[in-house]
């Protein structure tokens, strides 16, 4: 699947296109198929998100998982500070990142 990501303009937080807006959670990401350029152009003008781009991902039973490790690190947070990730209380959260 193709999903869209960028950084929130105000906070800089990593965000994912959920079909209507930008979510903090990669599991909310939707497959944009071949509409990536159209959505990115529109969102660029709306100026809610910085430097958005399309990436490849897969959806499995556990959720949406970006294909590349860099995007998986972006999706969860720094692997060396589990307390600062989006799932600080889930000791298994890192398993799908690396």
């Amino acid at each position: 699947m193709n999903i869209l990501t960028g950084n929130d303009l105000k906070s800089g937080a990593v965000v994912w296109w959920d079909g209507t807006g930008w979510s903090l959670y990669v599991d909310d990401a939707v497959d944009v198929g071949d509409r990536a350029e159209e959505i990115l152009a529109r969102e660029q003008s709306a100026r809610r998100v910085n430097a958005a781009y399309a990436i490849s991902a897969n959806r499995d039973d556990n959720g949406v998982r970006p294909a590349h490790i860099k995007e998986r690190v972006r999706a969860l947070g720094p692997t060396v500070r589990p307390d600062l990730t989006l799932k600080p209380k889930d000791p298994a959260a890192m398993n799908w990142v690396i």
Partner: protein, 544 residues
């Protein structure tokens, strides 16, 4: 240390308000990201993997307790309770909100700090010897000259859009503790046979994808021509630097392609021209700056004996102190490399403590080392045990300076958008491995440096052991390098062969140390043994 005059303060305050207005316009949608990006970068604000990252300049790594407290307050108020000290003696915050950035810069300005020229193709924060003004082996304190150059290079209109970023280091001893020859310009303050002070210029060094050691292009520039000569070096670079190719735009490429002799000739020609123009700041300016770096009032007649009755303390004192020019004092190094910790990270609580300890024990001064540790430069030997006790209680008492646990590591793929692989977990696993086996002391001085990409922020080219993280078809892979040094015996490390996975690289480092232990002769460091026996025995052990 240097204190802003009204001009310095006005410049920084004005810049804060300018950036506040630019940020407001960005948030209101009146500036696009393409328009705003160069403006935020000029104020040290990057967009990294997880958020905006703010890099704050710490000129030549020197700061006082008031400033360290302010850095801690920023970590608490605007970030997530910690900061990361970098290999350019700066500090970075990883979780900054754009809307907070102007307020942070305003808070910094209140303590005479800023983030100007911590990014962009300009002259960056000037680094220096972290023991400046304290070391027994320096011919002069290099910081007044670094400060003079800082003032010259700040907002310099001709050098604000160089072909590429530009890094300068200034030292004043034969022992190089600032990786001087791996800078765009390395300056060593020297004394000639007539007893006069001058500056030796080394130009065209650097790490990154094309590491080079800077050749000396002039061994003595009179100090009353220091700025003029630096200006000449920059002018020739600005004129001929490769603006057409980012990867060939650093001055090291120019010096290499032009040849050091021809580059030096053109610098001399420009220098002669500039001398006629009379651009050198008046000597009075240097004399105005110099008293800010005067020695504190050191006590005399202090005991130089160390009470070694506490073995853990004695271990730390032997490892983490450096000789001072004044009897009865040492420079004490606070390790930011606890076993299994993140190299260079300090919590706000730890920063506050270091600030208080500086006030209590070190004439209110701290230094950031390019090796990502903190120095209290002037500590009475008699106070060392009390100091160590407080450090130990706060997790800052690791006795591991210059050992395999004292690893330089860039933020890597955990934070950096340029990185290809994670650096920090590799550092953590290596320090844990060697600490658990109790081998750290046995190995002695062993400088290990890790970069998560070819840009080499972790100085892997200059490690006795270097590690470079690469992306191998979407999987992290680590190349092992041996034989680098960023000290006065500067050398560039060589790659051993095929890379390793995350677990394999830790094993490979251990294998390399075993080769060293089985081959070393009396008094040899890892680097010495490598230089004597060469790469082959290591390759044989690593790859069979």
């Amino acid at each position: 240390m240097y204190q802003y005059d009204s001009y310095d303060q006005a410049m920084v305050d004005t810049r804060v308000e300018e950036f506040r207005d630019q940020t407001r316009r960005r948030l209101e949608g009146k500036l696009s990201e393409d328009q705003f990006k160069p403006l935020r970068l000029m104020n040290g604000l990057y967009l990294q993997l997880h958020a905006y990252m703010l890099r704050v300049a710490i000129p030549y790594g020197t700061l006082d307790s008031r400033q360290m407290h302010a850095l801690a307050d920023i970590a608490d108020k605007y970030d997530r309770g910690y900061g990361h000290f970098t290999t350019r003696q700066n500090i970075q915050y990883n979780w900054i909100k754009l809307e907070d950035a102007p307020d942070i810069l305003a808070d910094l300005a209140k303590v005479e700090m800023h983030a100007i020229q911590t990014s962009g193709n300009c002259i960056r924060n000037i680094s220096s010897d972290h023991f400046a003004g304290a070391a027994a082996d320096e011919v002069a304190d290099p910081r007044p000259y670094a400060e003079l150059l800082r003032q010259w290079s700040s907002f310099h209109p001709e050098f604000s859009y160089l072909p590429r970023k530009f890094k300068i280091a200034v030292i004043a001893s034969d022992s190089d503790r600032a990786a001087m020859k791996l800078h765009d310009i390395g300056i060593q303050i020297v004394r000639n046979d007539a007893g006069e002070l001058g500056a030796a210029f080394f130009v065209g060094g650097g790490m990154g994808r094309t590491p080079m050691i800077a050749p000396c292009i002039r061994d003595f520039v009179p100090l009353d021509q220091l700025v003029t000569y630096a200006e000449a070096c920059l002018r020739v670079y600005n004129r001929h630097g490769r603006r057409d190719n980012k990867y060939k735009a650093r001055i090291k490429i120019l010096v290499h392609e032009m040849g050091a002799e021809e580059y030096a000739r053109q610098v001399e020609e420009e220098f002669a021209h500039l001398l006629e123009q009379g651009i050198e700041p008046p000597l009075a300016e240097l004399e105005r700056i110099r008293p800010y770096f005067a020695d504190p009032e050191f006590e005399t007649g202090l005991p130089s004996e160390l009470d070694r009755s506490d073995p853990e303390f004695a271990l730390w004192a032997d490892s983490n102190t450096h000789p001072h020019k004044t009897p009865g004092y040492v420079s004490a190094i606070i390790s930011l490399k606890p076993v299994g910790g993140i190299p260079g990270d300090a919590s706000a609580r730890q920063m506050h403590l270091m600030a208080e300890l500086a006030k209590q024990y070190s004439f209110d001064e701290l230094r950031v080392m390019h090796t990502q540790n903190i120095v209290l430069p002037h500590v009475r030997i008699a106070d060392l045990h009390a100091l160590w006790s407080q450090l130990e209680a706060a997790g800052l008492g690791a006795p591991n300076l210059d050992t395999i646990e004292d690893i330089i590591a860039c933020p890597g793929l955990d934070y950096c958008s340029l990185a290809n692989a994670r650096s920090i977990p590799i550092a953590q696993r290596i320090s844990e491995r060697f600490a658990a086996k109790g081998r750290t002391r046995e190995l002695g001085e062993l400088k290990l440096k890790i970069s998560g990409c070819i840009n080499a922020c972790g100085h892997h080219h200059a490690g006795h052991i270097g590690i470079l993280g690469v992306d191998k078809k979407g999987v992290e892979n680590y190349q092992l390098l041996l034989g680098g040094s960023e000290a006065q015996d500067t050398s560039l490390a060589k790659i051993t062969g095929p890379g390793f996975d995350e677990a394999g690289i830790v094993d490979a480092v251990e294998t390399a140390t075993e080769v060293y232990l089985s081959n070393r002769t009396e008094g040899e460091r890892f680097l010495d043994t490598y230089r004597r026996i060469g790469m082959e025995p290591f390759k044989e052990a690593l790859y069979g």
